[in-house]
């Protein structure tokens, strides 16, 4: 690099004769050390003369440094005499002086304790706002759904079937496999713990209670939150960022009716079906482990299931499925509608949708557990 061979930029002052000398290349590439030294000009009654005859180059950074030095002494480029400064350089100094004079407002502080407190406060306020938005959106969706029931809005069958395939049918392999594996894991757990008490046969109840009441629906809901909730956000979000939603509204159509309802209804139908599949596969997984690790035959397993597990456990699990479906679809669509502008916003809202959906599903599941316990189901 040529500039590493050049002499460093210099700034020296002679207070007696009120002369300051600029020398060397006053350019961004060379100015680091000089900037760090924060040169100043003592303010005095005399009019300063600035000798730039040994200045080899000047760019905006150099001009800015000079303006800083002058301003430190309460001066502008018009208050000093320049000697040996080229016309173009003088114009540059004047331009920089004019442009940096306009007051610059500070940005929000991002570091430090107070900034952290502020961010925390904002986060809490945002949480409340999000809850309100979600409630508002639920109301809007319900109103549109009612519109469909009384025939004021149309149901988009093509779209519903398409989403049923995407969110339901396409998710069958993953839901089935994961449920099977989790069922097997629970049976293993049961086998290890219960065998010590000589109560291996209770493994059947462990698996069936767990899957019918909780895991079937919870597992399915979490998989669909990650798989379909995020897809809803990304689809609607990228449409929003390309102004397609505005186009829909401008054509006199309703985005809720067109985009949200089909997804909501599709998930409403498919999540319970997938939950049923998940329960079956979990029981199968548990049964296979029982067969190989505990020597409980298939016949024994099924008989035990029929005798000891009441059907109400199935309904306790199943009744939660449409509610989780509603939560996932509404959160996914709402986050999609909140996207604005850039592609980055789509990514942020997709993450938010998945996190919120899983959060809500687990919170509601816990509430249900308490409720069912209280009513003795």
């Amino acid at each position: 690099m040529p500039q590493s061979f050049a002499p460093p930029p210099e700034f020296s002052i002679d207070a007696g004769s009120a002369r300051a000398v600029l020398a060397g290349p006053w350019t961004l590439a060379n100015l680091g050390p000089l900037f760090a030294r924060r040169p100043t000009l003592p303010s005095g009654p005399a009019r300063w003369t600035i000798d730039a005859s040994r200045l080899s180059a000047l760019d905006t950074a150099g001009a800015m440094l000079l303006v800083r030095v002058l301003r430190g002494a309460g001066l502008g480029p018009g208050d000093v005499d320049f000697t040996g400064l080229r016309d173009a350089d003088l114009r540059l100094v004047e331009l920089v002086d004019a442009r940096s004079r306009e007051q610059c407002e500070a940005g929000e502080p991002y570091f430090g304790f107070r900034a952290m407190l502020e961010r925390m406060g904002r986060a809490v306020a945002r949480f409340g706002q999000q809850a309100r938005e979600l409630l508002g959106f639920v109301g809007l969706t319900m109103a549109t759904l009612t519109g469909v029931l009384i025939g004021r809005a149309k149901l988009r069958w093509t779209s519903i079937v398409h989403h049923m395939e995407e969110t339901g049918l396409d998710a069958v392999p993953i839901v089935a496999l994961l449920s099977f594996l989790v069922g097997a894991v629970i049976a293993f757990l049961g086998a290890t713990v219960l065998r010590d008490f000589g109560a291996s046969i209770f493994t059947v109840e462990l698996v069936s209670y767990a899957f019918l009441r909780e895991f079937g629906v919870l597992l399915t809901a979490i998989i669909l939150a990650g798989r379909s909730g995020s897809a809803f956000t990304a689809q609607i979000g990228s449409m929003k960022s390309r102004e397609e939603l505005d186009a829909i509204k401008a054509l006199g159509l309703d985005p809720i009716e067109l985009l949200v309802l089909p997804r909501l209804i599709a998930l409403f139908v498919m999540l319970p079906l997938l939950t049923f599949l998940s329960m079956v596969m979990g029981l199968v997984g548990g049964g296979i482990v029982s067969l190989f690790a505990l020597d409980i035959s298939a016949g024994q397993y099924i008989t035990r299931l029929q005798e000891m597990t009441e059907i109400r456990h199935f309904w306790v699990g199943m009744i939660k499925a449409p509610i989780f479906a509603f939560l996932i679809a509404v959160v996914g669509c709402l986050e999609g509608l909140k996207v604005e502008g850039s592609a980055e916003s789509v990514g942020r809202h997709t993450t938010a949708a998945v996190v919120q959906a899983i959060f809500l599903v687990i919170v509601f599941d816990a509430l249900f557990a308490v409720f069912f316990m209280e009513v003795g189901l």
């Binding site: 680091g32 940096s100 306009e102 407002e105």
Partner: protein
Amino acid sequence: MSAGAGERERVVEVRGLVSRFGTQVVHDGLDLDVYRGEVLGVIGGSGAGKSVLLRTIVGLRQPQGGTIRMFGIDTTHMDDAERRPIERRFGLLFQDGALFSSLTVLENVRVPLIEYYRLPDDVVDELAMLKIRLAGLPTSAAHKYPAALSGGMRKRAGLARALALDPEILFLDEPTSGLDPLSAAAFDELIATLHASLGLTVFLVTHDMDSLYAVCERVAVLSNGRVVVADTIDRVEQHDEEWVRQCFLGPRGRSAARQAELVGPTASRPA
């Protein structure tokens, strides 16, 4: 060649450039010079290879043949490490600004300053702020994210970032496309001002006949993979190549020329 141009320093020299995509030949032995301190307008039909030429010169694309010299150094086959000291000597404005969307305008402009130089924080901020104002943005835009800016403001912010390192050459790819006529004219004026006050060399790819008349001292016309003519705009107007005639003598060319006569070129005669 216009008289006297031969003695000026060439900051970019393209010789015998060949660019191909598969079997499609985009440049076929293209020669072009850019002289220090000038504003060179590059025009040509859509798909003539203007953007490819720009990307090849700045090293974003490897040519299939020919050489490129910047500041007298052969940069044709440099690797990234060798290229870095050259890269900080030019600025590049992409079509839509290509701002980093997760950073505010101020942070965008800070990026090259922080990456290349070790400077105190307040100096970096002040320099970045200066560039933002030089690009004609209000200070209130500095803390906004690119998504919150209009198209014209995004281009100005992109320009501020391109100016961050005080480049010697500024490469602009259709900076006024997609802007309304008023913003486009304001942008032309900004380029002319920066050219005059910072002594920049400007390589301007454009479709806009108004920009051509308003800011360009020399115009290079790309056609059939070559530069068919590179000269002052008066002489290019007289050239008898088919595309050039249609372009300059068509309705848009004529009205832009008339306009330019009324107001006079802003760049070629700095105050």
